[in-house]
Symmetry: C4
Subunit: 235 residues, 4 copies
């Protein structure tokens, strides 16, 4: 299982880079449920991550059996895993279409069937430590950030970017992809006219999201699609 | 003829993916007029469709001589073919420039000579089954959707995307391409100032659309252009 | 000289396609001053034009020594060459950034040093023949269109696109490139705030445009830049 | 050291072209602190610059040991090096996202952690010589421009573009990249709603900018990322 998780994590890194969701900066991690540890790359651009870059991290931030260090903001991942047993993968990014919602008070809301997976709202965290700037670097900031996320699938970070989560790595990629897409669609729609947002009825959500847009088949089909867009790796 | 239709359908799938009109999700079909059946891929991303993926579907939704299944929303195609004897190809998509018109009340109207093929209006369907979400999945939804389409060339699906149709597969690609383009142009124009929409006089439409923009020569030239943009397939 | 003009015309066709200024439709021509005839491709997408596609056309529209035909709107080129002895190259296109100005009443005006070559204004033609639609197809339309162009470097065609001209093919490419760029910049600026347009003083125009932005050196440098962006041609 | 500076300057030229920050026109230079001279390409598009194109220029504008000439606007670089002993690299560009701020009165301000390096404001120069147009071509214009820059990291040039500077070439690339990014983010944010700009408290700036976003590690990581995006050079 560890081997499969590492392989998927390398692919997830490359997908996020190839789709322009992470350009140089940002990170993705996966939880290994057998060891209750976090797999994440050492501090480098996701575009270049290979198997040899993956580190194992405890939920308290200790890198196991290795001298290398991971991203400064690794607390983002650990705080979410501690607070959310249902979450097994986390993406932290600053996608271009998402930033407008991170820097204004306009609420991000579902505009299409794909966006409906965010029907219960997208909270925004802005309670940064004064002395640590617009970064999530301390354990206390991480705790407050995870509390703000609550049981949602996505969270905006004021003046910074967003976190998106999933029950698996493939689901987290699907959630992230549709989060970025809903942001783009809402942004374009707001510039055109008054938006009619997607309905929030329970039955609508169940059939649209659970039975379709986040079903195993659709999650798998998106993963296949995004993987096959990847350029050949020149080793 | 069947062989030629299958070949064209594979190319149409790849064109829609290559132009970014369908990214991962969406579908295209063609009617075989000899058998009155529908040719459509099994459920997979149009970017990867090959000859072996094409299934034959009756207008009632039965897959002939095959155990594989096609897209969940295949009723979209069948309902349109049942209602529109003049239509022999259907594209269902969620192109980025089109979504703003699907999520606001701003009417899509022709802004250029290319867009003039939509001179008789673009209806919008929003009468989804409550229990099926923002998807077109039941026969009844399909019937209502086809009735909303009427005899138009394109139709918006509220909070979802659009359908575009043609008398042939090449014409449907031309209609789809110009629909996405008119949406982009109108979107940009609306952000700049008050638009002067294209005239709707009968003579204007006849000379601009029938004798030029949807003439065999132009439809063929666009198909050649889009086909030659396709990357080499690595078999 | 004829050989050099043909070579340049093939390159100009490919540049316009590669820069996305002409996607499938649109055309470029050059005047051979020795024969007072027009060199222009047969009716096909500029992306694919090769030496063998170039036809020779009289100013009255006769194709010399060839059975093939050129673009429906070839009158655009001929009417301009007849009216403007200083013009030796014409580009007709529908670039995405230009369309918003063709479909609204917002005037296109210079916003940067590059755009200053349009300091004397960009007229807009909208006097189409009722029975010919939003196309320039008759000699009479061409005459009116050329009159509207006057002695300017660029002209908008209402609901359609634009024409740009130059004293040479390389200059016309430079004018076209900066026309599309000024449109993009003005469009973005209008969405942000009130624009301070470029000054129109004679000395400013002379030093900025004549001595710099349209000087031989800059025109040549842009041509070299755009030519070297072209993908290898797979013959 | 000279050899390393030349190599880095060639890479910086190609990065700026590859990222679309400089398309054909614009320039980058580096100061050699040992000789107090400026290294800059002869007048050609940054996309094509190779080692053989690099000239050595005195702060007064003399090209050493070479007959070739550099960019018309080389005074931009020399004036900044004369006024700013802390600056060792200068980028002059007209990036698309930056132009709207150069042509309107909307102030560019930090919207994210990355943009926070511009916390002390972005001045705008508009005191051009009447007779030299919208270009910086005379020594006097250069002096006034450098005075307007003051001790900031970036400066807008009205109706023209921008200058960005750094203590090293790699830092200047990082500053430029984030300047263009902040412009894009602010532009998108302004179109969506009212922006909450980044705080300007000293501690925030120190921890966000000095300890993180412009730290050696981040500057180096961005340089590695951008360098590895470069296409293979076909010599």
């Amino acid at each position: 299982m560890r081997r499969r998780l590492v392989d998927q994590l390398v692919t997830a890194n490359r997908i996020l880079a190839n789709e322009g969701i992470i350009r140089g900066f940002g990170h993705v991690s996966v939880r290994d449920p057998e060891t209750e540890t976090v797999l994440i790359s050492q501090s480098r651009s996701p575009a270049f991550v290979t198997e040899g870059d993956i580190l194992e991290l405890t939920l308290d931030g200790e890198v196991l059996d290795d001298d290398r260090t991971t991203y400064l903001e690794n607390v983002i991942h650990r705080a979410i895993y501690r607070a959310r047993p249902d979450v097994n993968a986390v993406v932290h990014h600053h996608a271009e279409s998402v930033i407008p919602f991170a820097i204004t008070d306009v609420e991000m809301r579902p505009v299409t069937h794909k966006g409906m997976m965010f029907y219960d709202g997208v909270p925004k965290f802005d309670d940064y430590d004064e002395e640590r700037g617009y970064l999530i670097a301390t354990e206390a900031e991480g705790e407050r950030m995870a509390e703000n996320l609550g049981d949602h699938r996505a969270q905006l970070l004021a003046g910074h970017g967003a976190n998106t989560v999933g029950g698996s790595l493939k689901e987290a990629i699907c959630v992230t992809y549709n989060f970025v897409l809903n942001a783009r669609n809402q942004l374009d729609g707001e510039s055109l006219g008054e938006i009619t947002f997607a309905p929030e009825s329970e039955s609508m959500v169940r059939t649209t999201v659970e039975e379709a847009e986040l079903s195993d088949g659709v999650v798998e089909r998106l993963w296949e699609y995004l993987s096959r867009q990847l350029p050949e790796r020149s080793k």
